[in-house]
């Protein structure tokens, strides 16, 4: 199977509310797929189902050919996750946080120079890395989160709105890093509201609304205005339907 991430008729219901409805989606090696959509469209639910944080009501999610809910331990070795708010331990330094998460993800005793190299790759200042995380900005925490993912050297990277709240420069650095990871073979699935970044780094874009994937498109040769037009058109359809 060439797809590293695969959703087949993936459905999740919370009591009577359907958060995700028969989603079919795949992300291949070296591919970046962005999910766009309003809040509550099902982007985070999709990511949570791939991570095994939620169990599907029907359908299945696969990571590198393994069905997620019945192979959690194996699956989690193959994926990395960067949430919207990277949560770290405020009384530990950036370096100590990185060390802790890296060790817990299965790496044995990472050398400090290796950790510093990772921090360098995500653009975090070496001096800042020795400060306690409680003094960090959101961008700095996101960089640590990405460094944790880099250290894991996972086959697939799942990101849940990692760019929100980052300044343009930090968002640009972050996007370049993601593109670089994908170019080195990682499958990247990112939920985002940022149409511009999505267009810049994606191989494919999925537009979601009300738990359904309503349109899949390739941004190649498409300008920013066209993408925005398509997205807004889908949202308007949604409003009309619900209205």
């Amino acid at each position: 199977m060439s797809e590293l991430l695969l959703a087949q008729a993936l459905t999740k219901k919370f009591q009577s509310k359907t958060a995700l409805h028969e989603l079919n989606l795949s992300v291949r090696r070296s591919e970046v797929v962005c999910l766009l959509g309003a809040n509550g469209a099902g982007k985070t639910t999709t990511i949570n189902l791939f991570l095994g944080f939620l169990k599907p009501t029907t359908g299945a999610a696969y990571v590198d050919g393994l069905e997620v809910s019945s192979n959690l331990d194996e699956v989690r070795k193959k994926i990395s996750y960067v949430p919207e708010q990277v949560s770290l331990y405020p009384s530990l330094t950036g370096l100590e946080n990185l060390d802790y998460f890296v060790k817990l993800s299965g790496k044995r005793q990472p050398h400090e120079s290796y950790l510093r190299e990772l921090l360098g790759r995500v653009g975090l200042d070496q001096i800042v890395a020795n400060n306690r995380v409680k003094s960090y900005s959101k961008g700095m925490r996101q960089k640590i989160g990405l460094a944790i993912s880099l250290a894991k050297d996972a086959k697939a990277l799942l990101l849940d709105e990692p760019l929100s709240g980052l300044d343009p420069s930090a968002a640009n650095e972050f996007s370049n890093l993601l593109r670089g990871l994908a170019d080195n073979g990682t499958a990247v699935l990112m939920a985002t509201h940022d149409l511009f970044r999505a267009k810049e780094i994606s191989d494919r874009i999925g537009i979601m609304k009300s738990g359904c994937l309503v349109q899949e498109l390739s941004p190649d040769g498409m300008d920013q205005a066209s993408l925005e037009e398509i997205y807004l058109e889908q949202m308007r359809n949604s409003d009309e339907t619900s209205g």
Partner: protein
Amino acid sequence: MNISIIKKEFMELMRDGRAISLSAIVGLLLVLALSTGLSNERTKEQRIFQAKMADAEAFNAQGEKNPHSAAHFSRMAHKPIAPLSSFDPGVSSFLGQVIWLEAHYRNPAMFRAAEDAPELSRLENFSLAGVLTLVIPLLIILLGYGSISGEKERGTLRQLIGSGTSLQTLLLGKFIVISATLFFVLLITVSFSIVTSIVLLDEAAPSMSDLLMRGASLLSSYGLYVLILTAITLLVSTLVSESKTALLILLAVWAITVVALPRLSASIAEQVYPSPHSHEFWEATDASLEANRPDGASADYAAVEQRVIERAIGRSLEEGEAENLSINARGVRFEVSEVIDSETYNIAFAELFENYAKQRNLRRLLSIFSPTIALQHLSQAFSGTDINAHEHFSNEAERQRNDIVRMLNEEMMLNGSGGTSRYLAPAEFWETVPEFQYRQPSIGSTWRQSFPDFFILLFWGWIGLVALFLLGRTRAEF
């Protein structure tokens, strides 16, 4: 992987100002409790020593005196300081420290420390065991209530699980850190108590190995208590989503199982198996004494009389020899009445202690709802300050009373046969009466009596760990 969790948890603990302040307060409480215990035990030890010396001096300086008068004057049996009473004074303050070994009467222990103490001296109950029993659960709750719920609130739990760490691994790491921290506190406390006890060791104290075994037993019991409470704290922290909810639930559990239930269980036990009031006990015992005394002309009386005489002369009597023996009849009567009454006293006191045992068994049953009750039993038992230890002392003192009175009666029987009923024993005779050499019960016998309580703690521990293990395995959605 667990080492990383343990290392990080300790690092966070050391950098947390609240944890350091908390440690300082607990340390201060423990030092206060230890110094209070040490000071109390030192005072008691000095009092016991002085009282024993004064008692021996007064008895030996009676000069020429009728042995039966001396039997009424008699001796005192002083209860020595229990092996680890500086750790847990248990019920010793409420049960009396001295028994008057008087002819005809089996007296109860007198001079209860709690009775003599003024109101402000209630600090005497401010013991290490009391502080640990109340404070250990609080410390565990404060260290652990946010263990998992805090990770959930911060969002780090999802990140850790997403990184491939299992909840089970995380729970195990946190379990080890909290238990190890509290076990360290226990180790320090029990070690200091053992050192204190060594300083206070007297001739009645158990051997050093017995003392160390008692310390190890206390550590095992309190250690199990720590494991149980840590498991409960982590279970609650995992099951709820907010730290403040976890804290509220755990404080309610603490108030019920640590504060309320142990006190309630004592009241329930007293209601179900009421202890007799002193006057009721003595009225009933007097009635039994009256009823059990055989008629002086009966065969039963004659049989006891023959046994008493044979024991005094050290051989069996020939048929009809008793009438011709040169022996003081008054002395024989005293000893016969002593032997007959002693059996009645033994039955009455056995029933009294049996009632205490029933109360303890009922509390044991209630410890299914609160491990603190089982821990209190174990703590007092291994410290040598429970009701069983007092029963042992009371029975040994009664044995000594029987020996002393018999010796004095036999002195009268064998040497006061010159016709006068007012025989005077020589002044040097009193020093031949043996001192009360009390040996406290061994750790082996304490374990035999305490195993049910230990089993209850083991059961609690097993349930807690299994529940935590299963929760770590089965909780899937975050």
